[in-house]
């Protein structure tokens, strides 16, 4: 089966967490909105959002079409893909824990987004710069250490070693944690350079994931969209620490 991933074409965004899992799994997929022609591109994506004939319509991209299943919400998609591709523990306790970590990452992603859009998603960053500066300063001072500290602790307390977040094997949560460190390092290079000295495990974890053959090949390919100032992780120097 070829999965069909629906996400905005110009950004990594929330869709990137799904792409990373599909890439590591070696699963065949089509990034529909990045394709052209009939049944592709953004119009194909919009049809799922706008069509009154879809009973279980997703709220927003990303969503995944797997055969007849249409699955929305990043964490939900990953919860679906993980067990099918050996990227989630077999035991229920491990699966629930992996999902919990993914939901925590979703919370972090929302907070990162709010550093540049603290007032409204419908407004441009330039319309909320002042508020963004305040929000980003608080994020870097209080929330970033809390989240990084938490994932550092998860690695440290993993009884099967600190190579992965859950047990002895890679899960989709590890791929998402990789993306978090990559994105934060793009958006806040100064703050993350300082953080790398304190949260060594999570940065070493990021480096290990980056070297996995399929992930390395993906990162070097045109399928990996570069970070840019339209996505979740945006680099505005004024929002970074000095």
């Amino acid at each position: 089966m070829v999965y069909e991933l629906f996400y905005w074409p110009g950004i990594q965004g929330r869709g990137e967490f799904v792409r990373l899992t599909l890439e590591e799994a070696g699963a065949p997929y089509v990034d529909v909105a990045r394709e052209s022609g009939r049944g592709a591109g953004v119009p194909a994506l919009m049809r799922f959002l706008d069509s009154p004939r879809i009973e279980r319509a997703p709220f927003a991209p990303p969503f995944l079409k797997a055969g007849r299943l249409l699955i929305g919400q990043t964490a939900n998609i990953l919860q679906f893909l993980g067990p099918r591709h050996g990227l989630a523990p077999k035991a229920e306790g491990g699966r629930v824990w992996t999902h919990e970590l993914q939901l925590t990452i979703a919370d972090l992603v929302a907070e990162v987004h709010d550093t540049h859009h603290p007032i409204a998603s419908g407004l441009y960053y330039e319309d909320q710069k002042k508020e963004a500066r305040r929000r980003a300063a608080d994020f870097l001072a209080n929330r970033l250490p809390k989240f990084l500290g938490y994932f550092e602790q998860v690695l440290q307390r993993n009884s099967r070693g600190d190579r992965f977040l859950v047990g002895p094997k890679l899960t989709y949560a590890d791929l998402s944690a990789f993306q978090i460190v990559a994105g934060l390092s793009y958006a806040f290079p100064n703050a993350m350079a300082k953080a790398s000295r304190k949260y060594r495990r999570i940065f070493a974890h990021h480096a290990r994931i980056q070297e996995r053959p399929r992930i390395a090949a993906y990162l070097a390919s045109p399928r990996r969209i570069p970070f840019n100032e339209d996505g979740i992780f945006r680099h505005y120097p004024i929002l970074d620490s000095k």
Binding site: P9, G10, S36, G41, V42, G122, Y124, E126, N228
Partner: protein, 407 residues
Amino acid sequence: MIAGHTARFDAAGNLKPWTSWGVALEREMIFYQRCPSDHGYPRFAYVTFLDGDWTPSADRTDTIPSTQAGMGIVSYLKFYEFSDRHEVGYLNTARSMGSYLVREALTPASGAYPAFTRSTGTRERFPQPADCGSQADQPYEIEPDKGGIAGYALALLFDVCGERRYLEQALHNARVLADNQREGGARESPWPFRADFRSGEGRGPISGNMSYILRLYDALLAHGYQEFSLPREALWQWIIRHQIPSAAADGGLFAQFFEDHDTPTNRTAWSPLNLARYLLEGRESLDPKWRSHCGTLIEFVRTNFTHREFGVTVCHEQDEDKQAWGGINSTYGAVLAVYAKAIGSASLAREARQALDFTLYSIDEQGRPRDLAQSAAAGGWQEDAHTDVIHNYVDALCAFPEWIDST
């Protein structure tokens, strides 16, 4: 020498490109991806006069937002598609230009043309003030047809990236245009060339560029906005009954397009060529007589707006400007190429290729284009150097893919 390159000719004396189109265009696109950004936009999205080092011209603070960014969006979306959507930087540059139009370049939200994309403006004003009209616009004037260009470009942008604010502005521009649409006739187009956005009072009875408003209506109809069905039909009927026949006579209904001119009878090559491009894209589905209509439009341009440089037939802009600026000459080459392909004319294809080869000389080794081959250095009008040029090469390459590599 042409624009700093030694002119190359084949044995028959035909001009050859200084390098392959693929190399030159890629260098130019890479050069523009490195354009500095200010205020969240690449500089070439909102500064009309830049030199080859991205320095704004000290004495030209006037700008042309809708044409420059609107045609820029069209160029970047076409190039993005042409390069198999691999380089999302091109898409994101188009988005930056769209965001500039939507966020910075609108009239105030009241009057006859409220929140309408500006035809002209003033550099370094974010957003543009109410009285920003420049070039030959009065301070409170807009050009309705430029709202068609911007609106159409924004509708395309929505189709590719899905951001609703672009569609909303396209829809808004179209509604404002429909509210101000008149029947038109033998001496006036359905909109005046200029209008005071506060009162709607027009200046210049003829606006030659009607095809982009038609494109805007078409794009919105394709999204299910049936409210544009009647305005679209009325505009189409005016084009068929009055404007195209005018090209077979004196071409008077193709007067006025460029922002820096205001002679009411000043005919241009831009509008008939872009109408021909529209017909060539739709062919029978649009107009059963597309072949003869395109022939009429192109012949009108060949008769009135071409001259020869270095043995090449090149196209100049308008009655009042006889120079083969990059925008108009590449438009000529592209439309002629697509027409030549459609009717199977090898001689017109050769002429088209030569015109485009000529403008290619304006790109230097580092990918920096000049607005006009005769200009002393890289840069100048950004729409003539870049934003209204790239899409023309893509159109020609879609008709003749083999032109990308041949030297």
